[in-house]
Symmetry: C2
Subunit: 364 residues, 2 copies
DNA sequence: CTGTTAGCGCTTTCAA
DNA sequence: TTGAAAGCGCTAACAG
């Protein structure tokens, strides 16, 4: 029997509406649920009875019998991060329009929290989930496979996961990165700092160690690093481990790392920052070291924002289509929910390279 | 009978677990649901049967019988906005810890969408909702009252609504604004632009028209404008309608409005921007007009971010405690859900005034 | 076209 | 301590 309920008056049920209208429950259900045939007469009576009682369908009960919740789950590292907030907005707008709502869970980039989040969504019987997963290794993906096994459609957003044959919606991070770094090279830069790379216990000393670490990092981190390396290789430029930040990804660490790169005998003359905090941290280091951009050091950042455009000089940035990433992920998920079989492909959206004024010819 | 379901294997139910364990359903339910007494023996059998079948409780069914969904609803204008994203993060972190998940709905600052959103949340039987409402007039709040009438706890966040006796969690916008403007006045400024005020069809020409418009605007907008006026009055400074932007709240309009203020014979020497886009729009206008800050014009903005700190010179800002606003709203809501009667008060959190270097003594 | 009825998977009396 | 059975509000066969 129902318990803890009635924090107030129990909400009217379809039976009460039927009684009020003097019709059978099924007829009331049919008109209110919008299915089956009902004569205009009864229909009218039911509608006004519902109106009168302030009837609202209990979506929970409906889901119980239909097996469909019209609710999506979204799992991201941090909903407070503007990038994920943008993606969320894209998902939310798209899915709401199709009658789906979204439960949003933040995992703080912690795999255990992510596992728990998937469990919660399974329990709540979401119709599908979109995940920007923190999973990397093969052993990290069991929770996602569990959801799949249970027949819950899953699509990945922002980060692909190697060991998972799933649809994912991403940008070509490697190419975006390669292009940015190449842009720097074309401006004569040969000492280009990369902020930030995969977090490592101790700084990498060899390219080999670094790429190995990248393989154990978030897909996005790895791709961006590979793009950096690609550009170097394309230009025949030597790799220097001192120019790649590998510490924990915080703004402050970026400042420290960049300060060091700026103090090198053969100092860095350009910086490629793969995240917003990396950029602001770098900017701070540049200033504190007594340099200015783009005269002394050129800069390119990731994830454009109106701030980047009003910096003086304005910043050259890689702009990810956040809303579109979300919308596309939602679209893909919804079509799988509606029965389409997953194409298990990577949907790659275009990132824009927004050239402004933070890159100058090397003058040194 | 259940329909559309089984997109795959139907998930195991408590009955199946009971059968597998060779016990009655109730015993299985008791151990799995964590209530009532079960002998250690049976308990063990049930647990391993559940494990074996991969049982996960169906939260929907549970909600059906308990009347509690352990789900909160959050309604904001735009989840993609960094401010709301931060608030959401605060809510999400706090409530998740207490076993509640959050359905997030964006209304695009549209009252109709907000009404629909409330309806959706009622239907999904959320245990409570947090709303940053677009409602202003008495006629705008029926949907929220409807939720209240149905016994669903509601707390307001960021924006209080005059006609609603509800708990709300906000900052003292008026005081924060007054303080910022006063800071400008103390630095000798007498011509201070306010970006942006309440949107009006045609520019206000009198103070009276402006305050009237403010009364018909979002609470935050009104409060911030009142704070501006307070500071002027405190200092005995005259009000000038030309210094208050009243157009649609877009970055571009801010640029246009500020450009105009800068072109006045008795031009503006300081700007107070009440939102991020207002600030970036203003910055652009300052630059395009051939001025620089803080030498020619001083600036103060709302909603601090790491960007503001790395601008050159760094920007003086009012920092709202976004996470705390969210956490506090969640805390208040949860206690009401747990039975506390709403205190119907405004919970005012402290905003910090972060003084950096975008305000200088008036030099003109 | 309309009403009766049997579930959906869980919780919770109530007896045993 | 345990099990049987009713009920949460809805959908969907199935008769009529």
């Amino acid at each position: 029997m129902a318990a803890e309920r009635d924090r107030s008056v129990a909400p009217p049920t379809i039976s009460e509406v039927a009684a009020e209208a003097g019709v059978g429950r099924a007829s009331a259900a049919r008109t209110l649920g919008g299915y089956g045939y009902v004569s205009p007469e009864l229909r009218e009576r039911v509608l006004s009875a519902a109106e009168k009682l302030g009837y609202r369908a209990n979506a929970l009960a409906r889901s119980m019998s239909t097996g469909v919740s019209h609710t999506l789950g979204l799992i991201v590292a941090d909903i407070g991060n503007p990038f994920f907030a943008g993606v969320t907005r894209g998902i939310s707008d798209f899915s709401r329009q199709r009658g789906f709502d979204t439960i949003v869970l933040s995992t703080h980039e912690d795999l255990e929290e992510e596992k728990a989040a998937v469990g919660v969504l399974i329990d709540k019987r979401v119709d599908g989930m979109i995940i920007a997963s923190a999973a990397v290794e093969r052993d990290d993906v069991a929770h996602i496979q569990d959801a799949m096994t249970r027949g819950i459609p899953v699509v990945l957003v922002d980060r692909a996961v190697e060991h998972l044959a799933l649809d994912s919606v991403v940008i070509d991070n490697r190419e975006a990165s390669r292009r940015a770094v190449n842009h720097l090279i074309e401006h004569g830069h040969r000492r280009i700092g990369f902020i930030w790379g995969p977090p490592m216990k101790k700084p990498a000393t060899t390219r080999r160690a670094l790429t190995a670490a990248a393989a154990r990092s978030l897909w996005t981190d790895g791709e961006r690093l590979r793009g950096y390396l690609d550009a170097l290789d394309d230009a025949g430029l030597p790799f220097d481990a001192d120019l790649v930040m590998t510490g924990p990804k915080t703004e402050q660490n970026a400042t420290v790392a960049v300060s060091r790169m700026l103090a090198l005998d053969d100092r860095v003359t350009a910086l490629f920052c793969t995240e917003n905090d990396a950029l602001t941290g770098s900017l701070r280091a540049v200033r504190e070291s007594g340099f200015s951009y783009p005269a002394d050091v050129s800069l390119i950042g990731f994830d454009d924002s109106s701030w980047a455009a009003v910096m003086e000089p304005p910043l050259t940035m890689i702009a990810q289509p956040m809303l579109d990433l979300g919308a596309r992920a939602a679209e893909t998920l919804l079509s799988e929910i509606e029965g389409a079989s997953p194409s298990r492909t990577m949907h790659t959206l275009e990132a824009r390279f927004v050239e402004r004024a933070s890159v100058a010819k090397r003058s040194r």
